[in-house]
């Protein structure tokens, strides 16, 4: 996997009568891991929805360079209704069946499903129903569902929101492993700046309707983050790793 995968050219994103992001120019290379950050309501979800094709561009241009580029979308787990009477394995098999002919559901083993369940550490949950999963397990299932279609790129919309510290860290470790081992391109909108340190090669910061992006180490500077969030943010280095903290009272 190499070369340019995706590009925005002078793109305006948003809704009729409400342009959330203006004049965005941005490109994504295959194999990159980019984190999209910014304060609440700045347009992270708008950016993700536009890349997914769920929102039309207001103006400018959006290009997926790979023909038939398949996107694996990992929503927040709150978007999934656990009332559906399905097992973990069923969700993955049905997703796979829906893409291929015939569309009916055949019981039995699907090698691709087993492989993805193993990669996302949910094999032990295969026969559990949705309503029995914890938040972290549900999020790993959504990651597995995105991977089972063999995507060119993974788009994650605040996947660790409302997760406890350990579940969040486990999920991020999993993402990092998938990125390294499978060279999956990753675009992740998140509030968790610390989670991106040492993982994302590039960070895009949304502020005042603009997108600024660059290498993670350069983008996560105290001065820049303080300007973006309107509050003193400290960035410290220890043993070669960056640590981000809020300075003073939030």
């Amino acid at each position: 996997m190499a070369g340019e995968l995706f590009q925005f050219e002078k793109a305006c994103l948003g809704y009729p009568g409400n342009e959330v992001l203006q004049d965005i120019s941005f490109h994504l290379d295959a194999g990159n891991f980019i984190g999209i950050v910014g304060p609440n309501g700045v347009g992270k979800s708008t950016l993700v929805k536009t890349m997914l094709g769920l929102l039309p561009l207001r103006s400018g241009r959006m290009t997926w360079h790979q023909e038939h580029a398949r996107i694996g979308y990992v929503p927040q787990r709150e978007q999934i209704d656990a009332i559906w009477p399905m097992r973990v394995r069923d969700i993955l098999q049905l997703t796979l069946c829906a893409l291929h002919r015939p569309h009916w559901y055949k019981r039995g083993e699907y090698a691709q499903v087993s492989e993805v369940m193993e990669a996302t550490e949910i094999t032990a949950l295969a026969d559990q129903t949705l309503d029995t999963l914890s938040g972290g397990e549900m999020q790993r299932l959504l990651l597995a569902r995105a991977l089972v279609v063999e995507p060119s790129v993974l788009l994650l919309d605040e996947p660790t929101a409302a997760m406890d510290l350990f579940a969040s860290e486990r999920f991020m470790q999993l993402i990092t492993k998938l990125h390294r081992e499978r060279n999956v391109t990753i675009v992740m909108a998140t509030h968790d700046l610390q989670a991106l340190v040492g993982r994302a090669g590039t960070v895009g910061i949304l502020a005042n309707g603009m997108l600024h992006y660059g290498p993670t180490v350069d983008m996560l500077s105290a001065e820049r983050l303080t300007n973006v969030y309107g509050h003193p943010v400290g960035v410290h280095s220890k043993d070669g790793k960056l640590f981000i903290s809020i300075e003073g009272d939030a």
Binding site: P75, D90, C97
Partner: protein, 271 residues
């Protein structure tokens, strides 16, 4: 007892009623699984009322009631599936308006009809014993077509209903599968409404799948239980209505809702 049942169902009107109850009711019960899981039960309540309005208009214009039922169902689905997008009123508001408007206007239109039909009210009171052969055949055809469509495209229906956003990102036409589901629902409602009225249609749509979803957490068991409960309650309700001289449609609807009680107890015990 067998001899009594044989005698009861030796009448053609009972066989036609049973056919509509078992096939139409079983099909609506199956579609009701999606109505519950998609959390659109209010829509399921409003649609029969709009279908009733279609039947009333057809009678008023001297057209076959079945034509009105189909057109009413389809127009209702079109209106309700696009409602709420303007943002002026929440979807539930539109559904409530459709329920009230459809139900009341149907009676008013029927009362204003220049060709008063003594049998017209059966569509609203649920007198399923007035069902004729062609109505029974229509219910069987709609049930068979619905079963075939869902069998062939099961994964599409489930994936697009479960997560429409993910469906779109996979390049699948979520709106198409959505429309097909509602089309089946429209024809299903028309086939039952045309013979047995809104009470039975809504009872079948809600009762059997609710009981099955209370008892089981796996699709195969939910589907089998739902369809069996729909068919059995149609048979039981019709038989009881004959024995005790009760109105057919409402008795069948009551029978369709009854399994919710043992299902609720089963769920409590299982927990």
């Amino acid at each position: 007892m067998i001899a009594e049942l044989q005698e009861m169902y030796s009448f053609s009107f009972m066989r036609y009623a049973l056919t509509v109850g078992v096939f139409g009711g079983g099909m609506l019960a199956f579609l009701g699984i999606f109505v519950h899981l998609r959390r659109i039960v209010f829509l399921g309540a409003a649609l029969p009322q709009i279908t009733a309005l279609g039947i009333a208009l057809a009678i008023c214009m001297n057209l076959p009631p079945l034509v009105g039922a189909i057109l009413g169902g389809l127009v209702g689905i079109l209106l309700l599936s696009t409602s709420g997008k303007s943002g002026s009123l929440p979807t539930e508001g539109w559904v409530g308006l459709a329920y009230a408007t459809g139900g009341s206007l149907a009676i008013v239109v029927l009362a204003l009809s220049p060709q008063p039909d003594a049998g017209a009210l059966r569509f609203f009171t649920g007198d399923i014993l007035g069902t004729n052969r062609s109505e029974a055949i229509f219910a069987v055809i709609v049930a068979a077509c619905t079963a075939a469509v869902f069998r062939l495209c099961w994964s599409k229906f489930v994936v697009s209903s479960f997560d429409p956003v993910m469906t779109k990102t996979l390049g699948l036409r979520a709106s198409f599968w959505n429309a097909l589901l509602f089309l089946c629902l429209g024809f299903g409602l028309a086939s039952v409404m045309n013979s047995a009225g809104s009470m039975l249609a809504f009872g079948m749509l809600i009762g059997p799948p609710a009981a099955a979803l209370m008892m089981f957490r796996a699709f195969p068991k939910v589907i089998v239980t739902t369809v069996v409960l729909g068919a059995v309650s149609a048979f039981a309700g019709l038989t009881l209505s004959f024995v005790f001289d009760l109105p057919g449609g409402p008795t069948m609807a009551t029978a369709a809702l009854f399994p919710m009680l043992p299902a609720w107890i089963y769920r409590k015990i299982k927990r």
